[in-house]
């Protein structure tokens, strides 16, 4: 691992040591974040998988009902009876913060709670197959909304997990080793300087002694 391009001074080393400490703490926190996100993500994915299987099979059933209905009614009559819905289904949007990811929370807001209100047509000219079709779709509504919620959450969380994973890896395999190497390099350099100045002093002392008293310490 490459050593950073820094001056080998004591001050720089203290600074790097502080940075290393921060990097280690950040690494630990990000790792915890990743693990927790992953746990919740897997849970959501499992739920989503079940919901999707359910929604897809129910929608297929709905379509069968509609096909039955269109068999006994004319296409025009069928479409016109479905066209004018009495109420608008809305969703109340809130958001939840999961490990710094904003995931949406949807809850259905229906125009009315009256069971009979779900049919947008009068019963005089329509077949009961159409009632079945609309009813089954109406019952599927909560699942459909929940599916949207979990799927969007999965999408957002997958992106965040990927980002967090990259950051954890870069800290673990690049930043922290680099700091460690650089600190080690500076420590060695400082020691080396220390030794060289010590020998220089000893040498100077020898020379001074020899000059002043005519003897040298080194032969004792």
């Amino acid at each position: 691992m490459a050593v950073m391009n820094v001056n080998p001074t004591r001050m720089q080393m203290t600074k790097l040591k502080k940075q290393l400490q921060i990097a280690r703490r950040g690494h630990k926190m990000l790792k915890d974040k990743r693990d927790e996100l992953m746990r919740q993500f897997i849970e959501l994915v499992r739920e989503n998988q079940k919901l999707r299987a359910k929604v897809e099979s129910s929608l297929e059933e709905c379509n069968r009902h509609f096909i039955n209905a269109s068999a006994v009614m004319s296409k025009k009559a069928l479409e016109s009876s479905l066209m004018s819905s009495k109420h608008q289904t809305g969703v109340e949007v809130a958001s939840k913060n999961v490990m710094s990811v904003d995931v949406p929370l949807f809850s259905a807001v229906s125009g009315s709670d009256d069971e009979g209100e779900i049919y947008p047509y009068g019963f005089a000219f329509t077949s009961f197959e159409l009632d079945d079709a609309v009813m089954s779709l109406h019952q599927l509504l909560p699942d459909l909304i929940r599916l949207a919620e979990t799927e969007k959450s999965c999408e957002l969380m997958a992106a965040e997990i990927e980002r967090t994973r990259r950051r954890v890896n870069s800290l673990e395999h690049v930043m922290i080793p680099r700091y460690e190497e650089t600190i080690k390099y500076i420590a060695m350099k400082l020691e080396e300087n220390d030794r060289s100045s010590r020998t220089r002093l000893m040498k100077v002392k020898d020379m001074l002694l020899e000059k002043a008293h005519g003897y040298s310490e080194k032969y004792e």
């Binding site: 992953m38 993500f41 897997i42 994915v45 499992r46 989503n48 998988q49 999707r52 929604v55 897809e56 929608l59 297929e60 709905c62 379509n63 509609f66 069928l78 479409e79 479905l82 066209m83 819905s85 109420h87 608008q88 289904t89 809305g90 969703v91 109340e92 949007v93 809130a94 958001s95 904003d102 995931v103 949406p104 949807f106 807001v109 229906s110 125009g111 779900i118 049919y119 947008p120 079709a133 609309v134 779709l137 109406h138 509504l141 459909l144 909304i145 599916l147 949207a148 919620e149 799927e151 969007k152 999965c154 999408e155 957002l156 969380m157 997958a158 992106a159 997990i161 990927e162 994973r165």
Partner: protein
């Protein structure tokens, strides 16, 4: 904040959704689906946009813009012709993106 639900698809597949109070956007021309999605999503009236699988696959480029936003959620649903498994595939893509390999579905 109350928002609506939109459904994009061919008339055969989505005719029932209007009856349960969603806004239907008929799209019989697949080429138009990307523009339609953009228009609907940018209007910011909708929290959820369901799309039939065929059209969903066609506007991958348009969808990336909304991938990072909390809403709208663009969700594929099977069309009248039957499901193509895009929903499951999408889910395993998420798992692969997050984990690094597909550990849940194993394909």
């Amino acid at each position: 904040m109350v928002k609506n639900i939109a459904v994009i698809g061919d008339s055969e597949s989505i005719k029932g959704f209007g009856a349960v109070g969603m806004d239907m956007y008929l799209c019989d021309d697949p080429q138009e689906s990307g523009n339609l999605l953009k228009r609907i999503a940018d209007s910011e009236d909708y929290a959820i946009i369901y799309m039939t699988e065929g059209l969903f696959a066609l506007c991958a480029k348009e969808r990336t813009r909304f991938a990072e936003r909390t809403i709208p959620a663009v969700i594929p649903i099977p069309s009248a012709a039957g499901g193509t498994g895009i929903g499951q595939k999408r889910l395993s893509q998420f798992v692969e993106q997050a984990v690094g390999s597909d550990i849940l579905f194993g394909n």
